[in-house]
Amino acid sequence: MITQEQKTAGPVQAQEIKHRSFDRPVQWGIFILTLILVIFPAWPIILQSVMDRPLYDPTRSLTFNNFARILTNSEFWGVLGGTLLYAVVSTVISVIVGASLAILLTRTDMPGRKWFANLIVIPFYVSPLILAFAWIIVFGPQGYFTNLIRNLGLPTWDLYSIAGISVVTATYYMPYAYLYCTSSLALADPQLESAARIAGSGPIKALWSVTVPLMRPALVFSTLLILVSTIELLSIPLVLGTPTNINFLATYVYTNGIVGVRTDYGGIAVIALLTVLLVTGLVALQNKMVAQERRFVTVGGKAARPRILKLGGLRWVFFVLVLLYVIAAIVLPLLGILAQAFTAILSPYINPLSVVTLDNFSLILDTPAYSQSIVNSVLIAVVGGAIGVLFMALCALTVYRSNLKLRKALGYLALYPRAFPGIIVGIGFLWAFLLIPGIGAIRNSIWVLALAYIMRHLPLGFTSISPSILSISNELDRAARVSGATWLGVARSIILPLLRPALLATYVLLLITFLKEYAVALFLFAPGSQVIGTTLIELWRQGNSGPISALATIQLIITFLIVILSRKVLGVKIYDK
């Protein structure tokens, strides 16, 4: 029967529709753009690492001396060792504190949990640069609180030490560990704990033997994330370490790359490259361990009410401990920076109300170079962030929802900037601009910064949008395709509208991140394109803590306005993952 039909089916003069759409060009465009964006800052660094003279010097020639020089330099090894020590100490503190807070605030009956939950994530919104200044104002050698303690005749501490730097860094990254652990606790199926209870274990034992192990993926993930971020972090070590000459990789690259009299370009390139390799290794390790940790992922399905552990009398002990932590690490520093901004001098010896002034603010707002930096930061965040979200969304759509052959590769590309510390992205872009002739015209524009920011934070946006794309059934796109829509048509009319909440959340995340960003800009900014972060560092060089605090206060106000507006008006939750 079939044979007969096959005969007639064969050489029918079939009508064929030639089909044309922009789908492929757009997908390829996104791929190529991402590729360029990732390669752009990388290649001048690679090139420079094997050149004996600066890239702009036409007499340069190939050499491997740079590697030899750096790898035999004991100072470099000292810096590397110090960096690793600092990174490990900061990471351990922030993960332990973050995980403990996550359990205390979500699974026990400790009083004031709601309040604390809002307070302890504040450092997430604050630039680490500002956090460092804030700590100096309160806990620095001449800090307000330090002086108070000293007056009581009690021993004080040294903030300008590896320990001090680590504690401040840990405070800054603690919210990351806290947020990952909280969401993993929220996903864990409470029935698992119930099963342990029925099997005969007490409430604390059940929490400890079932729920805490289930946090392992979150712990592993946040540990490596914070480790990587700490190695990349410039601001806190720079501000706290410079007075006592403590150097880590990021500060070493910065001070030698920018301030040095005779800049050793080759050496910087080698150190930058080695840092990127180190971070790449850690990121790869992170991916591998996270993949292995799959077995701990429980599919909760329904969001059931978690079991609450009754702490009894201990609940007040924990309450006091958490309260002390929040006051010392978050409230006091931020109050300090506010007080400093509104006073001529902040000291326990002087009644602050007698020296209240707005001079610090007028200095910032009346100096065009300073006020310009606020405008620039906001412009880059608002416009660059919007362009960034769109680009990152299209990127994620191409990776997860197209049949482009290279979509897997695009996924890796989009995540690769994770291995680039901000300072190195800045150097890379700067050198690339030096190399490309005739590009001077746009060199001073803030959009160069926006481009570099987008590159640096591509992984952030990509990973923030991806889960939402994956949670949209692909039958929805398929139904639209069958209805006659092209891939782009589906993206426009089906997926992007459904992604609206995720896109808004990512946009707010980028707004905050771009406002905080300073490391990328340090090398890249030019007169006219300074941003808040670069101005803060400039003011810090001049040693003006009043204006620093005023500018920091302005940035904090802008950030919190964004957060509150987005929550109240748009209903956006940034870290609800």
């Binding site: 089916a9 009508q15 759409s21 059934s473 139904a479 069958v482 209805s483 829509a485």
Partner: protein
Amino acid sequence: MNELVVQGLNKTFGAVKVIQDVSFKVAAGSLTTLLGPSGCGKTTTLNCIAGLESPDKGLIRVGDLVLNDMSRHHNLPPEARQLGMVFQSYALWPHMTVRDNLNYGLRLKKVKQAEANRRIKDVLEMVGLGELSGRYPFQLSGGQQQRVALARAVVTQPRLLLLDEPLSNLDAKVRENARAWLTEFQKRLGITTIYVTHDQSEALAMSDMIAVMSKGKLIQYGPPGEIYEHPTSRFVAEFIGDTAFLEGTIAGQTNGGVVVQLHGNQSLTVDTDQPWRTGATATVTIRSERVEVDTEKRHQSNIIEADVRTSLYLGAKWQHTVETLAGEMKVETLSAINTNKLWLYIPPTAMILMAPEEARSEEAAPSIP
């Protein structure tokens, strides 16, 4: 006419051959079911037809429109194929009302709005949802969503309608109504339809033709009656209906049949139009509902002795698992039985003989010459 021709379809995922040389033809206006166990490649076949997957080899044509001709690297994207499709999850766009869901494809086909409105109204009335056009999908029941999905699939007047287990998310009762309703709807529109299911009763009830698939191959293709009455392989017989397989050897010839000697020194006369050599081994295929339970041993021949193992009360009938010397099988009675020993009478016309290689498993070659 929009008949569908699928010819030499092949698809691999990595190293796994998910579809192997699948060919069939669906007459214009008829409904063909792709039937088979989970993972046999039904959805993949459907997706190849829809253009959602691209096959490695093969030709797919609807009427005079060639959808795929892989030998010439011709592969239309889904949006150019003029198809309608209903997905297992219905895939109604949650941010659009029922009306907008239906309008979407019409707008893309540049149908004038007045005409579009008329068609949407007609189709919604046809599926009995005229008043619900302003609702969002989450405001509809499962059955209503399923009908909206169907309306959306046909409102563009596609050449071909593809349905991937559209009833599997419905409750048993709703499903049975939907079955009848859907068949009637399809006949009324006269639209060429491919229907994917792994539910054999659904396939038997709804189809003009059934294509039974297994492990990416087309095992048997024919009308429901033929598939049920004359399975050409043990796989098909096993997959459709409760079937017992008893091994035996051909002991002699009768008028219009053969005598099969079973284990345990029992024999059955089986009607067959195939020539069977005496002494050959054969498998007797028996449908449980064709077996008559004969407690008093009224029949003289074609009777075998059985011990009752378990009895299940199914409401309208009883189902017993019984053991004979030749093997285990299932039988049905209308009322409870209270003995442990039974006699089973199997009419000569109720059995099919299969050669061992045919009967062995689903590896059997498809019945396509």
